[in-house]
């Protein structure tokens, strides 16, 4: 009886969590549509949602191809950046003993205008290839991964370290048994930031010349041809691509680390 009530309230709870944002989105789109039609706003200023949707579906196959191209760049950059970030974090955690040193380092790194490196990388590597874009994405991904994983490796409870010492554990054992598992939730926090960021980086990198197959190139060329509805449709496709990257990370996190997001034991 009481369990049923609990289950019910959980169910209504879940739905009440989903419906408000959907309702707001629908209302927002409706208001947008009405505003554009009623005020006769020109598409170069603001295209109506209906125009964007129409363009989205007429261009669907091209859009798939573009999203796949940019998605591949983002994925490659994400994998490389993550691997490099992990290696750097492992090295840093060996030498930076104090956690608060990571924060200024992170702030400093965040100030580097990485996207601006694209033209330089385009010259260093073959501009007609995907390579410079993958490299830019990799560098962008590197920072959130490095910072978060380093934190996770260092932010271990003192009492847990004392416990490891009482068990006469070698630092390498402590790394394996305590620090790395402790860093896994931090790893996913970093990855949740890095994954959509990878899509944005891959996309923006396309604005600096090179192959014209990706989402970024399509947005730029549509806008240049005054096809604003199409440009916005590609923006929507970009958002969806970024969202997919994010949701995949969330799913993997839920599946692999059931203990995160719980009240941690003392």
């Amino acid at each position: 009886m009481s369990t049923q009530t609990a289950a019910q309230s959980r169910r209504t709870g879940r739905f009440s969590g989903i419906w408000p944002p959907i309702l707001i989105a629908v209302l927002f789109l409706a208001a947008w549509q009405i505003f554009v039609v009623a005020r006769d706003i020109q598409p170069y200023l603001l295209p109506a949602p209906s125009l964007i949707v129409t363009n989205f579906f007429t261009d669907l196959s091209l859009m798939w191809a573009a999203a796949f191209y940019t998605g591949t760049t983002a994925f490659l950059g994400l994998v490389l950046g993550t691997v490099l970030g992990l290696v750097m974090a492992l090295l840093a955690s060996r030498f930076i003993v104090v956690n608060h040193l990571v924060t200024p380092l992170a702030a400093g790194l965040a100030a580097v205008p990485i996207i601006a490196l694209t033209p330089i990388l385009n010259n260093m590597f073959n501009i007609t290839s995907r390579t410079p874009r993958v490299l830019v994405t990799m560098i962008i991904v590197l920072f959130p991964m490095f910072v978060n994983v380093t934190r996770g490796l260092l932010q271990v409870k003192p009492v847990q370290l004392e416990l490891m010492r009482s068990m006469n554990a070698h630092p390498r054992t402590t790394l394996k048994v305590l620090r790395i598992p402790n860093a896994i939730p931090f790893f996913f926090t970093g990855l949740k930031v890095a994954a959509p960021l990878a899509v944005i980086a891959a996309l923006v990198a396309e604005y600096f010349g090179g192959p014209q197959e990706g989402l970024g190139s399509r947005i730029a060329s549509a806008a240049a041809n005054t096809a604003y509805g199409r440009a916005w449709a590609y923006v929507v496709a970009s958002i969806i691509t970024g969202l997919i990257f994010y949701l995949v990370v969330v799913a993997v996190e839920k599946w692999t680390t059931p203990w995160t997001g719980r009240t941690r034991s003392t």
């Binding site: 409870k157 009492v159 847990q160 004392e162 416990l163 010492r165 009482s166 068990m167 006469n168 554990a169 054992t173 048994v177 305590l178 598992p181 402790n182 896994i184 680390t257 059931p258 203990w259 719980r262 009240t263 941690r264 034991s265 003392t266």
Partner: protein, 272 residues
């Protein structure tokens, strides 16, 4: 107990000093000239106000921090060697369980570090979980357990390698009064079943009296032992906490804690 047969004391602390930042302006004498012998199978409590060095003393015995001067022996071995040989298990106020491991695998941790095989590890862990009456929770995650249950897991873990000595740093400090009394009974039962020597840090007077064969009273600035109060309650049971002997013990420890006249030779409180 039968200290005659064993050539070594379970714990022997001789002329121990612990000074933080020695020689600098913010020098702090955490422990000054501590001498303490614990017989095998004895249960002793360290009690005193905050800053009296009771936790520090426990940590020096466990070689979690080094001594400035003096010596510590566990079963005849120096503290670092004793730690290497895993001659003690330790439990803290925080259960310090690893969230990513099941309850059983938390208990297995010390055995894993010793390189024991998977099957033996598992068997031993299940045995210990039975001892602390948590068999049904072996495959649960630590955060699914209550504070008292988590602390029982931590105790099971401290017993994993079957060390002769248990060091306990306010293990029940974060628990509510009811859970706390239940845990004290559990601990006494476990002691009886395993015959461990226990050094127990607490700042609860009734807890110290109820559990111990001997209560060591400490005083701060500098941290030192001021009194030793022997407790003879015999077999503990439900009524023990209401006996006159128990109250007399509580009073004796309380007075020892109040005693401001810290004479060079600590006055020995008469046997109760």
């Amino acid at each position: 107990m039968s200290s005659v047969q064993t050539s070594h004391q379970a714990v022997d602390v001789q002329g121990l000093w612990k000074i933080f930042n020695e020689g600098s302006n913010n020098e702090v004498t955490a422990l000054s000239d501590i001498n303490l012998s614990v017989k095998p199978g004895e249960f002793i409590s360290l009690i005193g106000p905050s800053g009296c060095g009771k936790s520090t003393l426990l940590r020096v015995i466990g070689d979690l921090t080094g001594a400035t001067r003096g010596e510590v022996f566990i079963a005849g071995e120096t503290a670092p060697v004793a730690r290497e040989k895993q001659l003690y298990g330790i439990a803290f106020q925080q259960a310090a369980l690893f969230d990513w491991r099941t309850v059983r695998r938390n208990v297995e941790l010390p055995l894993e570090l010793q390189g024991l095989g998977k099957k033996e590890r598992r068997e031993r862990a299940l045995e210990l979980l039975e001892l602390v009456q948590l068999s049904d929770f072996a495959e649960h995650r630590p955060w699914e357990l209550s504070g008292g249950m988590q602390q029982r897991v931590a105790i099971a873990r401290s017993l994993a390698v079957d060390p002769p000595l248990l060091l306990m740093d306010e293990p029940f400090g974060a628990l509510d009064e009811m859970t706390r009394e239940r845990m004290q009974n559990e601990l006494l039962r476990i002691c009886q079943e395993t015959g461990k020597t226990i050094i127990f840090v607490t700042h609860s007077i009734p807890e110290a009296v109820y559990l111990s064969d001997r209560v060591i009273v400490m005083s701060p600035r500098p941290g030192r032992i001021t009194h030793t109060v022997p407790i003879e309650l015999g077999e503990r049971n439900e009524d023990t906490r209401e006996t006159d002997t128990f109250y007399a013990g509580v009073t004796a420890v309380r007075e020892a804690l109040r005693g401001r006249s810290a004479s060079a030779s600590p006055p020995r409180i008469e046997e109760l």
